[in-house]
C-alpha cells in the first residue's frame, strides 16, 4: 500500500487566498488543516487547524487565556478584523522549518507517511506526484488502512 492508494481529494488554498475564505473552508468542511499550494502547484505549507487559531486569537489573549473571559466581545471583533484584512500568506508562520513540511511522495509507504506525520505533529499530509499535489491523507484515514480489521 502506497500513499497514492490512500490519498483522498482535499480542498486547497494558495498564499493569496483571503484569510476569511480559508477559515470558512476549514470550518465549513471540517478540515483538520489547510493545505496551501505555492505558485508551481507544490504544497508551500500545511497548517493544522490549531495553527490557524494562533492567527485569529489576539496576542494578549494567547498570552493569558483567562483574559478572554473579560474581553470576549472585543476579542471576537478584533479576530474578525484581522481575518478581513489578511491573506493566507499572513497566517503561515515565518519560522516554520521547510524540512518538516508534512508532504510525501505518492510512492511513500504507509509507515513512511505515519513517520512524517508524527514528526511534523500534523493531522494531515499532502501527497505529491512529480511535484504536483494529488491528494491528502489524514491521521484517521491512514490508521484505517494500517490496522487489522
Amino acid at each position: 500500500m502506497r500513499a497514492r492508494d490512500i490519498a483522498e481529494p482535499f480542498p486547497t488554498v494558495t498564499l493569496d487566498t483571503d484569510a476569511l475564505s480559508a477559515v470558512r473552508l476549514l470550518a465549513g468542511q471540517r478540515l483538520p488543516g489547510l493545505i496551501i499550494l505555492g505558485p508551481t502547484g507544490r504544497p508551500a505549507a500545511v497548517l493544522p487547524g490549531s495553527q490557524v487559531l494562533h492567527f485569529v486569537v489576539p496576542p494578549y489573549v494567547q498570552d493569558e487565556p483567562a483574559l478572554a473571559r473579560a474581553y470576549d466581545e472585543k476579542a471576537s471583533d478584533e479576530m474578525c478584523r484581522r481575518l478581513d484584512e489578511a491573506t493566507v500568506r499572513n497566517i503561515v508562520p515565518k519560522d516554520r522549518d521547510a524540512d518538516e513540511l508534512p508532504v510525501v511522495d505518492a510512492d511513500a509507504t504507509t509507515i513512511e507517511v505515519a513517520a512524517v506525520m508524527a514528526r511534523a505533529h500534523s493531522p494531515v499530509v499532502a501527497v505529491i506526484d512529480d511535484d504536483h499535489f494529488v491528494g491528502a491523507i489524514t491521521v484517521s484515514a491512514l490508521l484505517s488502512h494500517m490496522i487489522p480489521a
Copy 2:
C-alpha cells in the same frame, strides 16, 4: 456563546482501554484525537492523532523515515504487535505538561477555547462541568461558531 453551547458528544477512552480498540475508535470515527478520562471522570489526557502515531511507528523509522520504504512490512507487523500488547496508558507520553492539557470549563468563552487550543496545538479540547467531561470542541466546530456567516 460559551463552551457548553458548542460542545458536542465525543467518544472517550480510559487509561486502561486496550490500545488497538482506541486506535480503531480514532480511525473508525475519523476523530481528530483521543480524549482519555481518568478514574474520576475528569480528562487525564487529550492526544492529537499525530501523537498516537508516535506510538505506532517503530522508533527506528521515526528517526529515519526513508528507512520505512525498505522495511514497510516488518514495520507494519511491529506496529500491530505494539498495539496488541499495549493499553492507552502506554500511548500517553510521560513528559507532557499537565498545565497545557486542552481542557476548558463549560463557561469558557469562544476566544478562551481558541486560546487554549492554540497554546496546546490540539485539534480538540475537552469541556468539563464540575470536573466531569461533558463534550468536546474541534477546531473546525469552534471556527464555525466564531466567524461571520
